[in-house]
Protein backbone atom coordinates (compact mmCIF):
# COMPACT_ATOMS: atom_id res chain seq x y z
CA UNK A 1 0.00 0.00 0.00
CA UNK A 2 1.55 3.29 -1.05
CA UNK A 3 2.16 5.90 1.59
CA UNK A 4 3.60 9.39 1.58
CA UNK A 5 6.11 10.56 4.17
CA UNK A 6 6.30 14.23 5.06
CA UNK A 7 8.91 15.91 7.24
CA UNK A 8 8.31 19.49 8.38
CA UNK A 9 11.40 21.06 9.92
CA UNK A 10 12.41 24.40 11.29
CA UNK A 11 13.23 25.86 14.66
CA UNK A 12 11.21 25.13 17.80
CA UNK A 13 8.40 27.65 18.14
CA UNK A 14 7.64 28.01 14.42
CA UNK A 15 4.47 25.97 14.86
CA UNK A 16 5.51 22.98 12.81
CA UNK A 17 4.15 20.52 15.35
CA UNK A 18 0.73 22.09 14.84
CA UNK A 19 1.27 22.09 11.07
CA UNK A 20 1.94 18.34 11.20
CA UNK A 21 -1.19 17.73 13.25
CA UNK A 22 -3.28 19.82 10.85
CA UNK A 23 -1.92 17.97 7.84
CA UNK A 24 -2.65 14.59 9.45
CA UNK A 25 -6.15 15.72 10.40
CA UNK A 26 -6.78 16.94 6.85
CA UNK A 27 -5.76 13.50 5.54
CA UNK A 28 -8.21 11.88 7.95
CA UNK A 29 -10.95 14.24 6.75
CA UNK A 30 -10.15 12.98 3.23
CA UNK A 31 -10.80 9.45 4.50
CA UNK A 32 -7.15 8.43 4.60
CA UNK A 33 -5.01 7.01 7.37
CA UNK A 34 -2.41 9.22 9.07
CA UNK A 35 0.23 9.08 11.76
CA UNK A 36 2.09 12.06 13.23
CA UNK A 37 5.25 12.06 15.34
CA UNK A 38 7.64 14.78 16.39
CA UNK A 39 10.90 15.59 18.09
CA UNK A 40 10.69 16.04 21.84
CA UNK A 41 12.69 17.60 24.61
CA UNK A 42 15.47 20.16 24.30
CA UNK A 43 15.49 19.55 20.55
CA UNK A 44 11.90 20.78 20.26
CA UNK A 45 12.65 24.13 21.91
CA UNK A 46 14.73 26.33 19.64
CA UNK A 47 17.42 24.66 17.57
CA UNK A 48 16.30 22.33 14.83
CA UNK A 49 13.05 20.45 15.37
CA UNK A 50 10.78 18.36 13.22
CA UNK A 51 7.23 17.17 12.93
CA UNK A 52 6.57 14.15 10.73
CA UNK A 53 3.46 12.81 9.07
CA UNK A 54 2.75 9.62 7.15
CA UNK A 55 -0.37 9.56 5.01
CA UNK A 56 -1.59 6.27 3.54
CA UNK A 57 -4.63 4.60 2.03
CA UNK A 58 -3.86 1.54 4.15
CA UNK A 59 -2.47 0.62 7.55
CA UNK A 60 0.65 2.36 8.80
CA UNK A 61 2.89 0.22 10.99
CA UNK A 62 6.29 1.81 11.47
CA UNK A 63 5.28 5.32 12.55
CA UNK A 64 8.47 7.28 11.89
CA UNK A 65 9.46 8.93 8.64
CA UNK A 66 12.50 7.31 7.04
CA UNK A 67 12.70 8.73 3.51
CA UNK A 68 10.52 11.82 3.21
CA UNK A 69 8.70 12.27 -0.07
CA UNK A 70 8.09 15.84 1.00
CA UNK A 71 10.64 17.80 3.00
CA UNK A 72 10.06 21.30 4.33
CA UNK A 73 12.82 23.37 5.92
CA UNK A 74 12.23 26.82 7.33
CA UNK A 75 15.75 27.27 8.71
CA UNK A 76 19.23 26.41 7.53
CA UNK A 77 20.01 24.50 10.71
CA UNK A 78 16.97 22.25 10.26
CA UNK A 79 17.74 21.83 6.56
CA UNK A 80 21.29 20.73 7.26
CA UNK A 81 20.22 18.37 10.02
CA UNK A 82 17.28 16.65 8.33
CA UNK A 83 17.64 16.90 4.54
CA UNK A 84 19.92 13.89 4.25
CA UNK A 85 17.38 11.08 4.02
CA UNK A 86 15.06 12.80 1.54
CA UNK A 87 13.75 10.36 -1.03
CA UNK A 88 15.26 10.57 -4.53
CA UNK A 89 11.82 11.10 -6.05
CA UNK A 90 10.98 13.55 -3.29
CA UNK A 91 10.24 17.25 -3.16
CA UNK A 92 12.21 19.77 -1.13
CA UNK A 93 10.48 22.99 -0.16
CA UNK A 94 12.64 25.50 1.68
CA UNK A 95 12.33 29.05 2.81
CA UNK A 96 14.25 31.41 0.53
CA UNK A 97 16.65 32.12 3.41
CA UNK A 98 17.84 28.51 3.25
CA UNK A 99 20.70 27.61 0.96
CA UNK A 100 19.67 24.45 -0.86
CA UNK A 101 22.50 22.00 -1.28
CA UNK A 102 23.19 19.46 -3.99
CA UNK A 103 20.80 16.79 -2.77
CA UNK A 104 19.40 14.26 -5.21
CA UNK A 105 15.66 14.69 -5.40
CA UNK A 106 12.99 15.30 -8.00
CA UNK A 107 12.15 18.93 -7.30
CA UNK A 108 13.45 21.77 -5.20
CA UNK A 109 11.56 24.93 -4.36
CA UNK A 110 12.98 28.02 -2.68
CA UNK A 111 10.08 30.22 -1.62
CA UNK A 112 9.58 33.31 0.58
CA UNK A 113 7.52 31.52 3.27
CA UNK A 114 8.76 33.42 6.33
CA UNK A 115 8.80 36.79 4.56
CA UNK A 116 5.27 36.25 3.21
CA UNK A 117 3.95 35.44 6.65
CA UNK A 118 5.53 38.49 8.20
CA UNK A 119 5.11 41.09 5.48
CA UNK A 120 2.21 39.96 3.29
CA UNK A 121 -0.10 38.25 5.77
CA UNK A 122 1.23 40.49 8.48
CA UNK A 123 2.04 38.01 11.26
CA UNK A 124 5.29 36.03 11.47
CA UNK A 125 3.50 33.42 13.58
CA UNK A 126 1.37 32.19 10.69
CA UNK A 127 4.43 30.94 8.78
CA UNK A 128 3.35 27.38 9.56
CA UNK A 129 -0.03 27.90 7.88
CA UNK A 130 1.57 29.68 4.92
CA UNK A 131 3.88 26.67 4.60
CA UNK A 132 0.91 24.28 4.62
CA UNK A 133 -0.71 26.25 1.79
CA UNK A 134 2.54 26.14 -0.16
CA UNK A 135 3.20 22.45 0.42
CA UNK A 136 -0.28 21.41 -0.57
CA UNK A 137 -0.31 23.57 -3.69
CA UNK A 138 2.89 21.87 -4.85
CA UNK A 139 2.17 18.30 -3.76
CA UNK A 140 -1.62 17.95 -3.55
CA UNK A 141 -1.24 15.76 -0.47
CA UNK A 142 -4.77 16.48 0.73
CA UNK A 143 -7.82 18.15 -0.75
CA UNK A 144 -7.81 21.97 -0.39
CA UNK A 145 -11.21 21.76 1.34
CA UNK A 146 -9.95 19.29 3.95
CA UNK A 147 -6.85 21.39 4.57
CA UNK A 148 -8.84 24.56 5.13
CA UNK A 149 -11.26 22.75 7.41
CA UNK A 150 -8.40 21.19 9.39
CA UNK A 151 -6.72 24.58 9.78
CA UNK A 152 -9.91 26.23 11.00
CA UNK A 153 -10.56 23.35 13.43
CA UNK A 154 -7.24 23.96 15.14
CA UNK A 155 -6.57 27.72 15.18
CA UNK A 156 -7.77 29.99 18.00
CA UNK A 157 -11.19 31.63 17.69
CA UNK A 158 -10.97 35.04 16.13
CA UNK A 159 -7.97 34.16 13.95
CA UNK A 160 -9.92 32.33 11.24
CA UNK A 161 -9.62 35.10 8.66
CA UNK A 162 -5.92 35.57 9.34
CA UNK A 163 -5.27 31.86 8.89
CA UNK A 164 -7.45 31.60 5.80
CA UNK A 165 -5.40 34.42 4.32
CA UNK A 166 -2.17 32.69 5.34
CA UNK A 167 -3.27 29.49 3.59
CA UNK A 168 -4.31 31.37 0.46
CA UNK A 169 -1.10 33.41 0.34
CA UNK A 170 0.90 30.23 0.83
CA UNK A 171 -0.77 28.78 -2.27
CA UNK A 172 -0.12 31.90 -4.29
CA UNK A 173 3.62 32.14 -3.68
CA UNK A 174 4.10 28.88 -5.57
CA UNK A 175 2.93 30.57 -8.73
CA UNK A 176 5.09 33.69 -8.52
CA UNK A 177 8.36 32.20 -9.80
Amino acid sequence: MSSTEIRLSGSGGQGLLLAGIILAEAAILDGKNAVQTQSYGPEARGGASKSEVIISEGDIYYPKVRKPNVFLALTQEAYNKYVGSTCEEGVIIADESVEITDVKCAKKYSLPILDTAKNVVGRAMVANIVALGTINEITGLVSPEALEKAVLNRVPKGTEELNRKALETGREICNIK
Binding site: A24, N33, T37, E43, Y62, P63
Partner: protein, 379 residues
Protein backbone atom coordinates in the same frame (compact mmCIF):
# COMPACT_ATOMS: atom_id res chain seq x y z
CA UNK B 1 -12.53 3.58 5.28
CA UNK B 2 -15.31 5.30 7.18
CA UNK B 3 -14.89 8.93 8.07
CA UNK B 4 -17.47 8.99 10.81
CA UNK B 5 -15.94 9.67 14.23
CA UNK B 6 -12.43 9.13 12.90
CA UNK B 7 -9.99 11.45 14.56
CA UNK B 8 -6.33 12.05 15.20
CA UNK B 9 -5.41 11.21 18.77
CA UNK B 10 -2.24 10.85 20.82
CA UNK B 11 -1.46 7.59 22.62
CA UNK B 12 -1.33 9.20 26.05
CA UNK B 13 -4.62 10.96 25.35
CA UNK B 14 -6.25 7.70 24.24
CA UNK B 15 -5.02 5.99 27.42
CA UNK B 16 -6.69 8.68 29.52
CA UNK B 17 -9.93 8.48 27.52
CA UNK B 18 -9.94 4.69 27.90
CA UNK B 19 -9.46 5.06 31.64
CA UNK B 20 -12.36 7.49 31.93
CA UNK B 21 -14.54 5.21 29.81
CA UNK B 22 -13.63 2.32 32.14
CA UNK B 23 -14.87 4.39 35.07
CA UNK B 24 -11.66 5.95 36.40
CA UNK B 25 -12.68 8.85 38.63
CA UNK B 26 -9.47 9.46 40.58
CA UNK B 27 -6.01 10.26 39.35
CA UNK B 28 -3.03 11.14 41.50
CA UNK B 29 0.30 11.71 39.88
CA UNK B 30 3.54 13.54 39.55
CA UNK B 31 4.05 14.45 35.89
CA UNK B 32 7.07 13.01 34.12
CA UNK B 33 8.09 12.78 30.47
CA UNK B 34 6.95 10.93 28.38
CA UNK B 35 3.74 10.32 30.37
CA UNK B 36 2.94 13.96 31.21
CA UNK B 37 0.00 14.32 28.81
CA UNK B 38 -1.92 11.71 30.82
CA UNK B 39 -1.71 13.73 34.05
CA UNK B 40 -2.26 16.98 32.21
CA UNK B 41 -5.33 15.58 30.46
CA UNK B 42 -6.66 14.03 33.67
CA UNK B 43 -6.50 17.42 35.40
CA UNK B 44 -8.74 18.85 32.69
CA UNK B 45 -11.05 15.91 32.05
CA UNK B 46 -11.75 14.42 35.48
CA UNK B 47 -13.48 17.46 37.00
CA UNK B 48 -15.85 17.41 34.00
CA UNK B 49 -17.03 13.88 34.82
CA UNK B 50 -17.26 14.29 38.58
CA UNK B 51 -13.81 12.88 39.24
CA UNK B 52 -10.82 14.12 41.20
CA UNK B 53 -7.29 14.93 40.10
CA UNK B 54 -4.49 15.52 42.58
CA UNK B 55 -0.92 16.43 41.74
CA UNK B 56 0.96 14.89 44.66
CA UNK B 57 4.31 15.81 46.13
CA UNK B 58 5.98 12.81 44.49
CA UNK B 59 5.41 9.38 42.99
CA UNK B 60 5.34 7.56 46.33
CA UNK B 61 2.55 9.83 47.53
CA UNK B 62 0.72 9.44 44.20
CA UNK B 63 0.65 5.68 44.52
CA UNK B 64 -0.50 5.94 48.14
CA UNK B 65 -3.30 8.30 47.15
CA UNK B 66 -4.42 5.94 44.39
CA UNK B 67 -4.61 3.06 46.88
CA UNK B 68 -6.60 5.19 49.31
CA UNK B 69 -9.02 6.33 46.62
CA UNK B 70 -9.57 2.76 45.49
CA UNK B 71 -10.29 1.65 49.07
CA UNK B 72 -12.83 4.46 49.22
CA UNK B 73 -14.56 2.94 46.21
CA UNK B 74 -13.23 4.81 43.18
CA UNK B 75 -11.46 3.40 40.19
CA UNK B 76 -8.05 5.00 40.42
CA UNK B 77 -4.98 5.41 38.23
CA UNK B 78 -1.56 7.00 38.18
CA UNK B 79 0.86 7.47 35.30
CA UNK B 80 4.61 7.78 35.28
CA UNK B 81 7.86 6.73 33.61
CA UNK B 82 10.84 4.68 34.79
CA UNK B 83 12.24 6.96 37.51
CA UNK B 84 8.76 7.43 38.98
CA UNK B 85 7.92 3.77 38.56
CA UNK B 86 10.89 2.85 40.74
CA UNK B 87 9.40 5.00 43.51
CA UNK B 88 5.92 3.55 43.15
CA UNK B 89 7.10 -0.01 43.64
CA UNK B 90 6.95 0.03 47.43
CA UNK B 91 3.27 0.88 47.38
CA UNK B 92 2.67 -1.34 44.37
CA UNK B 93 3.75 -4.29 46.50
CA UNK B 94 1.44 -3.03 49.22
CA UNK B 95 -1.47 -2.96 46.75
CA UNK B 96 -0.64 -6.50 45.63
CA UNK B 97 -0.75 -7.90 49.15
CA UNK B 98 -3.74 -5.84 50.30
CA UNK B 99 -5.54 -6.59 47.00
CA UNK B 100 -6.37 -3.04 46.00
CA UNK B 101 -7.54 -2.62 42.39
CA UNK B 102 -5.72 0.17 40.55
CA UNK B 103 -3.93 0.89 37.29
CA UNK B 104 -0.35 2.15 37.03
CA UNK B 105 0.72 3.45 33.63
CA UNK B 106 4.43 3.37 32.83
CA UNK B 107 5.29 5.16 29.59
CA UNK B 108 8.82 3.84 29.27
CA UNK B 109 11.81 6.00 28.43
CA UNK B 110 15.54 5.30 28.33
CA UNK B 111 17.07 4.21 31.63
CA UNK B 112 18.45 3.34 34.09
CA UNK B 113 17.93 6.19 36.55
CA UNK B 114 16.74 9.42 34.90
CA UNK B 115 18.37 8.04 31.76
CA UNK B 116 17.12 9.43 28.46
CA UNK B 117 14.01 11.45 29.33
CA UNK B 118 12.68 11.97 25.80
CA UNK B 119 13.81 8.74 24.15
CA UNK B 120 11.88 5.50 23.80
CA UNK B 121 12.80 2.28 25.58
CA UNK B 122 11.21 -1.00 26.61
CA UNK B 123 13.54 -1.75 29.47
CA UNK B 124 11.03 -1.92 32.34
CA UNK B 125 9.71 -5.32 31.30
CA UNK B 126 11.25 -7.26 34.16
CA UNK B 127 10.57 -4.44 36.60
CA UNK B 128 6.86 -4.83 35.78
CA UNK B 129 7.08 -8.45 36.87
CA UNK B 130 9.55 -8.37 39.74
CA UNK B 131 9.94 -4.72 40.72
CA UNK B 132 8.15 -5.04 44.04
CA UNK B 133 9.87 -7.32 46.50
CA UNK B 134 8.54 -10.66 47.62
CA UNK B 135 6.48 -13.23 45.72
CA UNK B 136 3.48 -11.45 44.30
CA UNK B 137 1.11 -11.80 41.35
CA UNK B 138 1.54 -9.42 38.43
CA UNK B 139 -0.46 -8.35 35.42
CA UNK B 140 1.15 -6.07 32.84
CA UNK B 141 -0.41 -5.13 29.51
CA UNK B 142 1.21 -3.41 26.52
CA UNK B 143 -0.70 -1.74 23.66
CA UNK B 144 0.95 -1.15 20.28
CA UNK B 145 -1.25 1.56 18.82
CA UNK B 146 -3.23 4.61 19.82
CA UNK B 147 -6.43 2.66 19.35
CA UNK B 148 -5.16 -0.06 21.69
CA UNK B 149 -3.94 2.52 24.20
CA UNK B 150 -7.66 3.14 24.65
CA UNK B 151 -8.98 -0.43 24.60
CA UNK B 152 -6.15 -2.02 26.59
CA UNK B 153 -6.55 0.63 29.32
CA UNK B 154 -10.18 -0.45 29.61
CA UNK B 155 -8.97 -4.06 29.91
CA UNK B 156 -6.43 -3.04 32.56
CA UNK B 157 -9.20 -1.59 34.74
CA UNK B 158 -11.41 -4.63 34.17
CA UNK B 159 -8.66 -7.04 35.25
CA UNK B 160 -7.75 -4.84 38.23
CA UNK B 161 -11.34 -4.84 39.42
CA UNK B 162 -12.02 -8.49 38.66
CA UNK B 163 -8.93 -9.86 40.40
CA UNK B 164 -8.53 -7.06 42.97
CA UNK B 165 -4.95 -6.20 42.18
CA UNK B 166 -2.75 -3.49 40.70
CA UNK B 167 -2.38 -3.76 36.92
CA UNK B 168 0.54 -2.17 35.11
CA UNK B 169 -0.09 -0.66 31.71
CA UNK B 170 3.20 -0.49 29.86
CA UNK B 171 3.61 1.91 26.98
CA UNK B 172 6.71 3.38 25.38
CA UNK B 173 7.54 6.90 24.28
CA UNK B 174 6.60 6.08 20.70
CA UNK B 175 3.11 4.81 21.53
CA UNK B 176 2.56 7.51 24.17
CA UNK B 177 3.49 10.42 21.95
CA UNK B 178 2.47 9.39 18.46
CA UNK B 179 -0.76 10.65 17.00
CA UNK B 180 -2.78 8.28 14.88
CA UNK B 181 -6.16 7.96 13.24
CA UNK B 182 -8.58 6.26 15.60
CA UNK B 183 -12.26 5.47 15.69
CA UNK B 184 -13.14 5.08 19.36
CA UNK B 185 -15.81 2.54 20.26
CA UNK B 186 -19.20 3.59 21.54
CA UNK B 187 -18.83 3.78 25.32
CA UNK B 188 -22.15 2.00 25.74
CA UNK B 189 -20.77 -1.03 23.95
CA UNK B 190 -17.75 -1.45 26.23
CA UNK B 191 -17.73 -4.30 28.69
CA UNK B 192 -16.97 -2.73 32.07
CA UNK B 193 -16.23 -4.85 35.13
CA UNK B 194 -16.68 -3.51 38.66
CA UNK B 195 -15.37 -5.03 41.90
CA UNK B 196 -17.75 -7.25 43.84
CA UNK B 197 -19.29 -5.42 46.78
CA UNK B 198 -19.98 -7.14 50.11
CA UNK B 199 -22.80 -9.68 50.08
CA UNK B 200 -23.03 -9.86 53.88
CA UNK B 201 -23.85 -7.24 56.51
CA UNK B 202 -20.93 -5.36 58.15
CA UNK B 203 -20.94 -7.52 61.32
CA UNK B 204 -20.39 -10.69 59.28
CA UNK B 205 -17.85 -9.24 56.85
CA UNK B 206 -14.33 -10.66 56.80
CA UNK B 207 -12.20 -8.53 54.43
CA UNK B 208 -9.94 -11.30 53.19
CA UNK B 209 -12.31 -14.25 53.22
CA UNK B 210 -12.19 -16.03 49.87
CA UNK B 211 -11.85 -19.46 48.32
CA UNK B 212 -8.23 -20.48 49.02
CA UNK B 213 -8.03 -21.74 45.42
CA UNK B 214 -7.60 -18.30 43.86
CA UNK B 215 -10.76 -16.67 45.16
CA UNK B 216 -11.16 -12.89 45.16
CA UNK B 217 -12.49 -11.32 48.39
CA UNK B 218 -15.50 -9.03 48.29
CA UNK B 219 -14.67 -5.34 48.56
CA UNK B 220 -17.04 -2.78 50.05
CA UNK B 221 -15.89 0.83 49.96
CA UNK B 222 -14.67 2.60 53.05
CA UNK B 223 -17.51 4.82 54.16
CA UNK B 224 -20.21 2.26 53.44
CA UNK B 225 -20.29 1.05 57.04
CA UNK B 226 -17.78 -1.75 56.71
CA UNK B 227 -14.82 -1.23 59.06
CA UNK B 228 -11.77 -3.31 58.44
CA UNK B 229 -8.04 -3.37 58.85
CA UNK B 230 -5.70 -3.00 55.87
CA UNK B 231 -2.05 -3.86 56.40
CA UNK B 232 1.07 -4.61 54.43
CA UNK B 233 1.84 -7.32 56.95
CA UNK B 234 0.75 -10.85 56.17
CA UNK B 235 -2.81 -11.04 57.44
CA UNK B 236 -5.53 -13.55 58.11
CA UNK B 237 -9.12 -13.44 56.82
CA UNK B 238 -10.05 -10.76 59.33
CA UNK B 239 -7.37 -8.41 57.98
CA UNK B 240 -5.19 -8.40 61.11
CA UNK B 241 -1.50 -9.36 61.04
CA UNK B 242 -0.41 -12.93 61.54
CA UNK B 243 2.88 -14.80 61.41
CA UNK B 244 1.18 -18.18 61.29
CA UNK B 245 2.96 -20.29 58.65
CA UNK B 246 -0.15 -22.06 57.42
CA UNK B 247 -2.16 -18.86 57.10
CA UNK B 248 0.77 -17.20 55.32
CA UNK B 249 1.01 -20.07 52.84
CA UNK B 250 -2.74 -20.02 52.21
CA UNK B 251 -2.71 -16.26 51.53
CA UNK B 252 0.29 -16.23 49.20
CA UNK B 253 -0.99 -19.29 47.39
CA UNK B 254 -4.39 -17.69 46.89
CA UNK B 255 -2.80 -14.49 45.52
CA UNK B 256 -0.80 -16.42 42.93
CA UNK B 257 -3.77 -18.66 42.03
CA UNK B 258 -5.84 -15.59 41.15
CA UNK B 259 -3.56 -15.41 38.10
CA UNK B 260 -2.61 -19.04 37.54
CA UNK B 261 -6.23 -20.24 37.49
CA UNK B 262 -7.27 -17.59 35.00
CA UNK B 263 -4.52 -17.47 32.39
CA UNK B 264 -6.95 -17.82 29.49
CA UNK B 265 -8.92 -14.82 30.72
CA UNK B 266 -5.89 -12.65 31.34
CA UNK B 267 -3.46 -13.52 28.54
CA UNK B 268 -4.20 -11.64 25.33
CA UNK B 269 -2.09 -11.69 22.21
CA UNK B 270 -2.18 -11.26 18.46
CA UNK B 271 -1.02 -13.91 16.01
CA UNK B 272 -0.10 -13.05 12.45
CA UNK B 273 0.82 -15.58 9.73
CA UNK B 274 2.12 -18.19 12.18
CA UNK B 275 0.75 -21.27 10.40
CA UNK B 276 3.57 -21.78 7.92
CA UNK B 277 6.16 -19.56 9.62
CA UNK B 278 9.71 -20.86 9.81
CA UNK B 279 10.89 -17.70 11.49
CA UNK B 280 8.67 -16.18 14.16
CA UNK B 281 9.11 -12.64 15.40
CA UNK B 282 7.99 -12.07 18.98
CA UNK B 283 7.59 -8.37 19.66
CA UNK B 284 5.47 -6.00 21.71
CA UNK B 285 4.57 -2.31 21.84
CA UNK B 286 6.04 -0.01 19.21
CA UNK B 287 8.65 -2.60 18.23
CA UNK B 288 5.83 -4.91 17.14
CA UNK B 289 4.92 -2.30 14.51
CA UNK B 290 8.44 -2.50 13.07
CA UNK B 291 8.22 -6.29 13.26
CA UNK B 292 4.96 -6.28 11.31
CA UNK B 293 6.54 -4.16 8.56
CA UNK B 294 9.59 -6.43 8.52
CA UNK B 295 7.34 -9.48 8.28
CA UNK B 296 5.54 -7.98 5.28
CA UNK B 297 8.89 -7.21 3.63
CA UNK B 298 10.02 -10.81 4.18
CA UNK B 299 6.76 -12.32 2.95
CA UNK B 300 7.06 -10.24 -0.25
CA UNK B 301 10.35 -12.04 -0.86
CA UNK B 302 8.81 -15.41 -0.14
CA UNK B 303 10.36 -15.83 3.31
CA UNK B 304 7.94 -17.57 5.70
CA UNK B 305 7.92 -15.18 8.65
CA UNK B 306 5.20 -14.86 11.28
CA UNK B 307 4.56 -12.50 14.17
CA UNK B 308 3.45 -13.23 17.70
CA UNK B 309 2.58 -10.09 19.64
CA UNK B 310 1.88 -10.44 23.35
CA UNK B 311 -0.55 -7.78 24.57
CA UNK B 312 -0.41 -9.30 28.05
CA UNK B 313 3.29 -9.19 28.95
CA UNK B 314 2.69 -10.68 32.42
CA UNK B 315 1.57 -13.34 33.03
CA UNK B 316 3.78 -14.73 30.26
CA UNK B 317 2.09 -16.62 27.40
CA UNK B 318 4.18 -19.67 28.18
CA UNK B 319 2.08 -22.34 26.49
CA UNK B 320 1.80 -20.31 23.31
CA UNK B 321 5.54 -19.64 23.14
CA UNK B 322 6.25 -23.34 23.77
CA UNK B 323 3.95 -24.21 20.89
CA UNK B 324 5.71 -21.70 18.61
CA UNK B 325 9.14 -22.98 19.63
CA UNK B 326 8.03 -26.52 18.76
CA UNK B 327 7.07 -25.54 15.20
CA UNK B 328 9.36 -22.68 14.13
CA UNK B 329 13.01 -22.99 13.18
CA UNK B 330 13.99 -19.67 14.72
CA UNK B 331 12.48 -17.09 16.99
CA UNK B 332 13.66 -13.49 16.71
CA UNK B 333 12.92 -11.13 19.60
CA UNK B 334 13.45 -7.44 18.80
CA UNK B 335 13.13 -5.23 21.88
CA UNK B 336 14.37 -1.82 22.99
CA UNK B 337 16.35 -3.28 25.88
CA UNK B 338 19.28 -5.65 26.18
CA UNK B 339 17.24 -8.85 26.04
CA UNK B 340 14.78 -8.89 28.94
CA UNK B 341 11.82 -10.69 27.37
CA UNK B 342 14.17 -12.89 25.33
CA UNK B 343 15.30 -14.59 28.57
CA UNK B 344 11.71 -15.55 29.28
CA UNK B 345 11.20 -16.78 25.71
CA UNK B 346 14.42 -18.81 25.81
CA UNK B 347 13.26 -20.38 29.04
CA UNK B 348 9.96 -21.43 27.47
CA UNK B 349 11.61 -22.53 24.21
CA UNK B 350 13.90 -24.74 26.32
CA UNK B 351 16.29 -25.39 23.46
CA UNK B 352 13.58 -26.54 21.03
CA UNK B 353 14.47 -23.72 18.67
CA UNK B 354 17.06 -21.00 18.48
CA UNK B 355 16.06 -17.67 20.03
CA UNK B 356 17.85 -14.61 18.65
CA UNK B 357 17.64 -11.09 20.01
CA UNK B 358 17.71 -7.72 18.27
CA UNK B 359 18.49 -5.25 21.00
CA UNK B 360 18.92 -1.52 21.30
CA UNK B 361 19.12 0.51 24.48
CA UNK B 362 20.51 3.70 23.01
CA UNK B 363 17.29 5.69 22.70
CA UNK B 364 16.83 4.77 19.04
CA UNK B 365 13.95 2.76 17.62
CA UNK B 366 14.45 -0.66 16.05
CA UNK B 367 13.43 -0.17 12.41
CA UNK B 368 11.74 -2.62 10.04
CA UNK B 369 15.02 -2.71 8.10
CA UNK B 370 16.97 -3.73 11.23
CA UNK B 371 14.63 -6.69 11.69
CA UNK B 372 14.49 -7.58 8.00
CA UNK B 373 18.29 -7.66 7.82
CA UNK B 374 18.39 -10.01 10.81
CA UNK B 375 15.79 -12.26 9.18
CA UNK B 376 17.93 -12.52 6.05
CA UNK B 377 21.02 -13.05 8.18
CA UNK B 378 19.64 -16.10 9.99
CA UNK B 379 18.14 -17.84 6.94
Amino acid sequence: MTNRQAKLMQGNEACLEGAIAAGMRFFAGYPITPSTEIAEGASERLPLVGGKFIQMEDEIGSMAAVIGASLAGLKAMTATSGPGMSLKLENLGYASLTEIPCVIVNVQRGGPSTGLPTSPAQADIMQARWGAHGDHPAIALYPNSVSEAYSVTVTAFNLAEKYRMPVILLMDEVIGHMRERVVLPDENELQIIDRTKASVPPEEYLPYKADPDGGVPEMPAFGEGYRYHVTGLIHSENGFPTTDAEKTAILLNRLMKKIDNNLDDIIKYQEDSLDDAEIVLIAYGSTARSAKSAMDMAREQGIAVGLFRPITIWPFAEDKVKEIAGKAKKIIVPEMNLGQYRYEIERAAAGKCEVIGINRADGEIITPEDIFEKIKGVL
